[in-house]
């Protein structure tokens, strides 16, 4: 994929994008509020492709443990399978500004013969040319619901129109989704992200913890010759999932979910799998469990940027971690690292204080993870997940008193309005940061930036917004469910207006 930096779009780049440079090109989940997340995004054959995940809060209502929210923020049904959750892929053509749905998941029968979606989400996309591909193809990683008869597989598209499934890596039966499709040395790499099992009729799911932490790789996805690229969890059981991967400085980097604190590994030898690996960061960069996961990785101006987080939105109930806000770290080729935003601390590598001066979450407790990062025209953009929008539904009686004092002082309505949505920040050097928006572009229901795509047409940004189709609001002291015109994922296109002229 060509980035705008490579394309050299030029004018106005040195200023970076501000909020006014972003215009909405899709609202309300492509007209269906059940499209919660723009869970994957890729620039392919001159057009933007977006894969959705549907009914996220409706699904969470059926999870065990269920988030403690009362009333439930969205409409819900006792059986989430009563919703049509067939995931969709949409295509945007900048030439005419039109969206077209190019794929919708099929129905399959579960063990009882009841129709269920084959896929409820598409969590990752990559453009890759495998050994048996005649040209670069779009590959899509999928999310299969718990009652689907098979684990998820991979979709392949070579013409921008039609999608076919190709064999998956040798996942175990509990694997329900995978996200990362990372190119490196002519191979594509992936690893399971979520697992699920139905026990006594209760869905025990972990959206961000896979049942195995193995990286699989192949030089030919269509040919399905998958090989292990690492040993399970890099030999450490606490690495419950390999969550994110990135190529940097001629090496493959992989970040884990680890309840004792994330780890970051890189290849030392990668001529042929399995590779040899070296640990770069340990114990959440010595912050411990509050850096449970490497949530995002991005190369920018010679360094690898690492966004951290705690699974499930900054509060991992199953592991009893959090809530706490995320950090920003950067790693250099010689394995030294710097804390850019986060908690000052003493480490075996010396005293680390945030070079930007910002604390965890860019001084926002609600930023549970730095979800996505992208370089565009010489700037690094980072998007967060914020759970401030859930405050009206969260029981706060167990909160620390100082936090309660702050919340009361700021006011729930005001917090929700001004900080309910995601944060978007940008930096020219990793040290000096400027805020683009703290309110999800004035939509409190945009709880995260789920994807970026840097293109010659500008920076595309897709949101995660699960507050649709109906949202529970308080009117005259009573809770009621009403249609939410700003519920469902949104897509924005950011570019300098003067560049149009």
């Amino acid at each position: 994929m060509q980035t705008a930096s490579q394309a050299g779009t030029g004018r106005g780049d040195e200023q970076g994008l501000v909020a006014e440079d972003f215009r909405m090109i899709n609202r309300s989940g492509f007209g269906d509020g059940l499209n919660s997340y723009t869970h994957s995004m890729a620039w392919f054959q001159g057009r933007l492709f977006v894969g959705t995940t549907r009914g996220v809060l409706q699904m969470n209502k059926c999870n065990e443990p269920m988030p403690n929210m009362k009333p439930w923020p969205t409409d819900w049904k006792a059986d989430v399978y009563d919703y049509d959750r067939r995931a969709e892929i949409w295509r945007y053509d900048p030439a005419d500004g039109l969206w077209q749905r190019v794929y919708q998941a099929i129905w399959v029968n579960d063990a009882q013969g009841k129709p269920v979606p084959r896929y409820i989400g598409f969590r990752g996309m990559a453009v890759f040319q495998g050994a048996s591909d005649s040209k670069p193809c779009l590959y899509v990683s999928t999310w299969a619901p718990a009652r689907a008869p098979e684990p998820p597989d991979i979709l392949r598209c070579d013409d921008g129109e039609t999608f076919h499934s190709v064999p998956r890596p040798p996942f175990g039966p509990q694997v329900r989704s995978f996200r990362t499709l990372q190119r490196f040395q002519g191979r594509i790499h992936t690893t399971p992200t979520s697992s699920s099992a139905v026990v006594d009729g209760v869905r025990r799911a972990q959206d961000s913890v896979g049942s195995e932490s193995t990286i699989y790789c192949t030089d030919d996805i269509a040919g399905a010759q998958w090989t292990n690229a690492n040993i399970e969890g890099f030999g450490e059981r606490a690495n419950v999932t390999v969550f994110e991967m990135c190529e940097y400085h001629g090496r493959l980097y992989a970040g884990t979910v680890n309840p004792r604190g994330m780890q970051l590994w890189r290849t030392e030898q990668a001529d042929k799998p399995p590779y040899t690996w070296k640990k770069v960061l340990d114990k959440g960069a010595y912050r411990g469990p509050h850096n449970e996961a490497v949530a995002s990785l991005c190369v920018f101006k010679g360094a690898l940027y690492v966004g951290t987080g705690i699974a499930n939105g900054g509060f991992h109930r199953q592991f009893r971690i959090g809530p706490a806000a995320s950090e920003m770290i950067r790693v250099w080729p010689d394995d030294t690292w710097e804390l850019l935003a986060g908690l000052p601390r003493d480490t075996p590598q010396g005293l680390k204080v945030p070079l930007s001066g910002y604390g965890a979450g860019f001084d926002n407790l609600f930023n549970g993870y730095i979800w996505r990062m992208a370089e565009h025209a010489g700037w690094l953009y980072i998007g967060t997940f914020s759970w401030a929008n859930a405050l009206p539904y969260v029981p706060m009686n167990t909160w620390p008193e100082d936090v309660l004092v702050l919340v009361r002082r700021w006011g729930l309505d005001r917090l929700n309005r001004d900080m309910g949505g995601f944060d978007l920040w940008r930096t020219p050097d990793g040290v000096r940061w400027e805020c683009v928006t703290r309110s999800g572009f004035n939509n409190q229901y945009n709880w995260g930036v789920r994807n970026f795509a840097s293109t010659p047409h500008g920076l595309f940004l897709g949101t995660a917004n699960p507050y649709g189709p109906e949202v529970c609001i308080q009117r005259n002291g009573k809770w009621q469910y009403v249609k939410n015109p700003r519920g469902g994922c949104e897509v924005f296109l950011g570019h300098k207006r003067e560049a149009d002229q």
Binding site: H290, R320, I321, G322, P323, A324, A325, T336, L343, P344, R345, D346, P348, Q349, G350, L351, K352, V353, P354, L355, S356, G357, Y358, G359, A360, D363, N364, L365, T398, W399, P400, E401, D402, V403, V405, L406, R409, W410, V431, R432, W433, E434
Partner: protein, 249 residues
């Protein structure tokens, strides 16, 4: 136009007293701890004041009352009427209204974040800058006094969570962060007139000696032959080592 001296350092250590002393000694004005580095627009100040736990508007309101006749009656209304101004424009108007040989300004929050320090540099490139250091022990004493018994502390000082005790940031780390940030910022901006001085030394210095230290007033060492970065960069590890921490690799 008055000579402007911006004094930055670790908060709660008495820098404000020295800023007042120097201004008075020169027959000038101490404008106060204006807290203007947090925002870019005048229109953003009301939100800042609304979110703050302490009356942060007071120093600026006081300065406007004393020095800007058109704002004297109602500073808040004046700021509201000029909400579209940049802070740089407000500073320019305010400083232009003061006829004094020296204006001193402090900013106790700027040292925590490099972009706040650099806002000062960008807005007032012709000002003189003084990084005032203090001993870490003095800051620990001051910080404990200041924060004891207060429910709210800024996000820099606390990591919130439900299941573990909420640790307050160690004062020495705050001390290190501010001094390291100021040292880095001033090294990067070597073209500015700046100097570092210990608070105890500063207390016994005259205005002329301070300006001489900065390199103005005909002092032979100005302009510097060498970028200041050469002299100041190694001090980051020295700061850490002085706290008993390992050197940062």
């Amino acid at each position: 136009m008055s000579r402007v001296l911006i004094m930055l350092g670790v908060p709660h250590t008495g820098i404000e007293d020295q800023a007042l002393r120097l201004a008075q000694a020169a027959g000038g004005v101490y404008l106060g701890d204006l807290q203007l580095s947090m925002v870019d627009k005048v229109g953003h100040l009301p939100e800042l004041y609304a979110l703050a736990q302490t009356p942060q508007h007071e120093p600026l309101y006081q300065a406007l009352r004393q020095h800007l006749p058109s704002a004297a009656g109602n500073p808040a209304a004046y700021l509201a009427a000029h909400a579209d101004w940049s802070i740089a424009e407000l500073q320019r108007v305010l400083l232009a209204a003061i006829d004094a040989p020296l204006v001193t300004i402090t900013d106790s929050s700027a040292g925590f974040r490099i972009h706040q320090v650099e806002r000062w540099f960008a807005r007032l490139p012709d000002a003189d800058y003084l990084h005032v250091t203090t001993s870490v022990a003095r800051f620990i004493d001051a910080a404990q006094l200041h924060y004891r018994g207060k429910l709210y502390v800024p996000p820099d000082y606390r990591d919130h969570n439900l299941f573990n005790s909420a640790p307050v940031m160690k004062p020495e780390l705050a001390w290190y962060q501010v001094n390291a940030t100021l040292a880095r910022a001033m090294s990067d901006a070597w073209q500015l007139r700046s100097a570092r001085v210990d608070l105890d030394t500063l207390a016994s210095m005259t205005v002329a000696e301070v300006l001489d230290r900065i390199g103005v007033g005909g002092a032979p060492q100005w302009p510097h032959a060498e970028p200041r970065a050469t002299a100041m960069a190694p001090t980051l590890n020295q700061l850490a080592l002085s706290l008993g921490y390992r050197a940062t690799t």
